[in-house]
């Protein structure tokens, strides 16, 4: 294999698994260290720069970082990254003096943002400080989009939402709320320099089953029902509620139902429990509130008597998988299973819908009626129109919308300055030694053995009575510190200098996880088979040095390296050094 090019920032970026997995590439270990140092405001700002909504995401993020956490490769549970983010948000000081200053003199460019959800707000946050004049349009009475209408307040209190939305709205952006944009042509006629569409995936999918017509009065689309609850149009639900669907919206629907008068609330899902799309912790939260999940039940019909919904019939099935992993649901008994219901919530998915975009504006749509949007620039086939968030490629999550918003802002800025949007700016990267003395590092390199700490919850008697009482209490400061100490500091890289190495083997002998080998070079396949310990994880790179004096090479399997720094401590010639790698994605104007 060729020596690893560590000058390519993507190499070490990939080693920081949590940051790499985060769509917005938040420098996770960096802010976790700041939390451990009780520098909550600094930790918050590291987040704010990258993911815009630390307090909101610290409660609601889908956490793609956590399954990626290196700790799951050496023990059971990842670091509670998401909840540590909340620790930073909960304990920060006033940050207003740290927010970017908004130039009085504008740059003369006008941008329209359709929708005031996370994607649009991110675009506004990135462009307003550069002097752009921003107009936001939304059909709700306040900013936040689905974070306001679809995430229940017991998961995300309104004051947390308002605070972070207002940091952006206070940047001098012009808001037009309570207005449904029903024509993109009309917006374009206002001669904006660019238009960003961040309207989400607003249409809930329904199930057209026998009996639906007569049952209609008691059947709701999940996301519509959730926003109706959020805006207080709906204040109650029947005692017996069936929630159809196995995603996070279904979990929000069933838990909200419990607070709106539902006593016998059941989630019914077609797939096996393990295949459900809901995050494991959201399923656990539903279970904690006494909500049973009936899996392997396919809804077949609404049962209506005397014009009134009585319940639903389901077919019991079993999942069978073929060799390629394709699933088929096979009925396992004759007859249907009846479940009583006063109300039914359908949370089986949502989709995009653009009835308000005229088809003669130069924006091409594909066969699924989705706009053609460039994956890197977020530009549509009409050069002035950009898409982001769920409206670009379908339903994802908040952190993905934020990532889209940053990139769209970069594109809009390049576009407005007449530059090529395809020329993406390189990331900001620093790599600095953490050596402070002979065996001293400026990071806490000792590896904590503690198991993941549990976030305390408010008592059920309290939370089930009032949908506005937040369920999770968050870590207190001392638990937050202990959880922060579990972080392995994967951004502190093991950097190897073959010119200094005397091949004494000290690093091989000390490495607790046998990551390091010195051997003759070969192909990747060949090398992986003859290292000190098995290296079967192909998604994790091998770090290869240039040839050493004995014509061997150093090979390090990045997979289970604990970043404990022992190789560098035991190295007599500082051929190994622990260097902190900070990777920040470039944002507009940088």
């Amino acid at each position: 294999m060729k020596p690893t090019d560590i000058k390519n920032p993507e190499y070490f970026h990939k080693v920081v698994d949590c940051q790499h997995a985060c769509p917005a590439h938040t420098p996770v270990p960096e802010y976790i260290r700041l939390i451990a140092a009780e520098r909550y405001t600094d930790a918050y700002m590291v987040n704010w720069r990258s993911n815009v909504f630390p307090g909101i995401l610290g409660r609601t993020c889908d956490r793609p970082c956590e399954p990626a956490c290196r700790r799951v490769r050496v023990e059971e549970e990842p670091v509670a990254i998401c909840r540590l983010k909340r620790v930073a948000a909960d304990n920060k000081d006033d940050i207003t003096d740290r927010l970017p200053t908004i130039p009085r003199k504008k740059n003369g460019k006008r941008i329209a943002l359709i929708g005031a959800g996370p994607a649009s707000l991110t675009v506004a946050r990135d462009l307003a400080p550069l002097g752009y004049s921003i107009d936001i349009y939304d059909n709700q009475f306040a900013g936040g989009g689905m974070m306001r209408s679809q995430i229940p307040t017991f998961r995300l209190p309104v004051d947390v939402l308002d605070e972070e939305v207002n940091y952006i709205l206070n940047m001098g952006v012009t808001t037009t709320f309570n207005v449904e944009v029903d024509s993109l042509k009309e917006i374009l006629s206002k001669s904006y320099d660019a238009v960003f569409v961040g309207t989400g995936a607003p249409r809930g999918k329904g199930l057209n089953l026998p009996g639906l017509e007569d049952a209609m009065a008691n059947v709701y689309l999940g996301i519509d029902w959730l926003s109706s609850v959020a805006f207080e149009h709906t204040r109650s639900i029947g005692k017996r509620v069936l929630v159809l669907g196995g995603g996070n919206t279904a979990m929000d629907c069933c838990r909200t139902s419990r607070r709106m008068g539902g006593e016998d609330v059941r989630v019914v899902v077609r797939s096996p429990f393990e295949d459900m799309k809901a995050s494991p912790w959201e399923k656990a939260d539903a279970a904690h509130e006494g909500i049973p999940i009936y899996n392997n039940h396919v809804p077949r019909e609404f049962v209506v008597e005397e014009g009134k919904l009585k319940g639903m019939n389901f077919e019991k099935v079993e999942a069978k998988y073929d060799e390629e992993g394709n699933r088929t649901l096979i009925p396992i008994q004759d007859g249907l299973v009846f479940m009583e219901a006063d109300d039914v919530l359908m949370a089986i998915g949502q989709e995009n819908s653009f009835p308000w975009i005229e088809r003669d504006l130069g924006i091409e749509f594909d066969k699924w009626d989705m706009p053609l949007v460039d994956k890197a620039t977020f530009q549509s086939t009409n050069k002035t129109v950009f898409f982001g968030g769920d409206s670009a490629f379908g339903p994802e999550n908040i952190i993905t919308a934020v990532a889209h918003g940053h990139q769209a802002a970069v594109s809009i800025d390049l576009f407005c300055r007449g530059e090529d949007v395809a020329q993406r700016p390189p990331p900001h990267v620093t790599l600095a030694s953490q050596k402070m003395g002979v065996h001293e590092w400026s990071y806490d390199n000792a590896v904590e053995n503690d198991q993941r700490y549990i976030v305390p919850l408010a008592p059920l008697q309290k939370t089930l009575k009032d949908r506005k009482v937040e369920v999770e209490l968050g870590f207190d400061i001392s638990t937050g510190f202990k959880e922060a100490e579990r972080c392995l500091n994967c951004d502190v890289q093991t950097v190897f200098d073959e010119l200094r190495c005397i091949e004494c083997d000290a690093c091989i002998d000390i490495c607790p996880t046998d990551c390091i080998s010195f051997t003759t070079n070969g192909s990747e396949d060949d090398l992986r088979g003859r290292l000190e310990a098995p290296a079967p994880e192909l998604t994790q790179d091998l770090y290869i040095s240039a040839d050493l004096p004995t014509m061997r090479v150093m090979v390090k399997d990045e997979n289970v390296c604990l970043h404990c720094g022992l190789c560098a401590e035991r190295c007599p010639t500082t051929a190994w050094d622990m260097q902190k790698f900070l990777y920040n994605v470039s944002q507009a104007g940088q």
Partner: protein, 350 residues
């Protein structure tokens, strides 16, 4: 500064026949200087014992005084251990071995502990062919007292702050051969491929097995004027050949040209396959071994690998015709058979 090794280990570490991983044979974190050759030797001992599937409680590790003699703390944390008086490790092993012949005895010593203060003990334990492995971590200097030349420093070799050594060096392999050792090898801490099978073979040999391991002192004796530096040893060592250690019950599967290799069956049923690189050495002939050592010294090179092995070695227990049951397992009735037996013995002597 780290005071302990993290608890987490590689999730797919291989298990040996006993179901243990290599981690089960480790000790505490080393307090020796970073890059010390001794740590590599400790690493090789850990691997050898793991791969041989020896139950940790069946090993006793004993040492004297010095940097080398601190190392038993850093390997085999679940084995028996005794850190004895300077140069007196052989006496303690002798006592322990006579009391309990069921353990595997691993003595660890340094060039000071062996070739200076312990020279007399070393000579006699070799002469008695005690069943033990005697590893010398040989760095040619007194590392624990700031790097003065030791008795194994070559004439003309200089440590980092020292003048060239004016005395001739003691060759521990040569001395051991002279004294009657039945397994003599030399290796280098930086060459695990060679050291590992040698340690395994030594542990399977019945009788006195010495491995003189050149182990650079990175702090005081790893400079260009030293003949015990990583660089000098790498450039000047000449291997007698390579050896494969084949454990008992495992089939020899590799095929080599006839005549180039020689199989030796060890006492415990395992075997050694030797591939000779140096045709002038016959490792089964003591004279040839002595001559090879002298020849290499004259030519300024370091002879490494298996230098001598006596396949018909009779260890101290055999020579003394001691009881097959270890002494420590004999109870009062066994040791004191009573007046009737004494009368019989006395009668037989009349």
């Amino acid at each position: 500064m780290s005071y302990q090794v993290p608890k987490f280990r590689h999730p797919d570490l291989p298990l040996n026949d006993l179901g243990y991983t290599k981690a089960d044979y480790e000790g505490t974190i080393s307090t020796l200087c970073a890059g010390c050759g001794h740590d590599s030797i400790s690493g090789s001992i850990v691997r050898a014992c793991h791969e041989l599937s020896i139950e940790p409680h069946k090993i006793a590790k004993l040492s004297g005084i010095g940097c080398s003699s601190k190392t038993p703390a850093y390997f085999l944390g679940k084995s028996h251990g005794f850190n004895s008086v300077h140069g007196r490790m052989p006496s303690v092993v002798t006592g322990a071995a006579l009391a309990n012949r069921d353990l595997i005895y691993l003595g660890v010593s340094g060039d000071g502990d062996t070739a200076s203060i312990g020279m007399g003990q070393f000579a006699h334990v070799a002469r008695r062919n005690l069943n033990m492995v005697y590893i010398v971590m040989n760095n040619g200097c007194y590392g624990l007292t700031k790097g003065q030349d030791s008795a194994t420093a070559d004439r003309g070799s200089a440590s980092k702050k020292g003048d060239p050594n004016i005395y001739s060096a003691i060759d521990l392999c040569g001395t051991a051969l002279q004294m009657g050792a039945t397994f003599v090898a030399r290796s280098f801490s930086g060459d695990k491929e060679q050291l590992l099978p040698l340690i395994k073979a030594a542990m399977s040999h019945r009788g006195f097995a010495i491995i003189d391991v050149i182990s650079p002192c990175v702090t005081f004796n790893n400079n260009p004027q030293s003949t015990k530096s990583y660089e000098f040893v790498r450039e000047h060592s000449e291997a007698t050949g390579t050896i494969d250690f084949v454990p008992m019950h495992k089939e020899i599967t590799a095929h080599y040209q006839p005549g180039s290799s020689h199989d030796v069956t060890l006492h415990d049923g395992s075997s050694l396959r030797l591939y000779k690189a140096d045709e002038s050495l016959n490792p089964f002939d003591r004279r040839s071994a002595v001559a090879a050592l002298e020849d290499h010294r004259d030519s300024g090179s370091i002879l490494t690998g298996l230098i001598y092995i006596n396949e018909d070695s009779r260890d101290l227990h055999e020579v003394l015709e001691t009881s097959q049951r270890p002494l420590n397992q004999l109870d009062e009735a066994d040791l004191c058979p009573g007046n009737k037996m004494l009368v019989n013995i006395n009668a037989s002597l009349r």
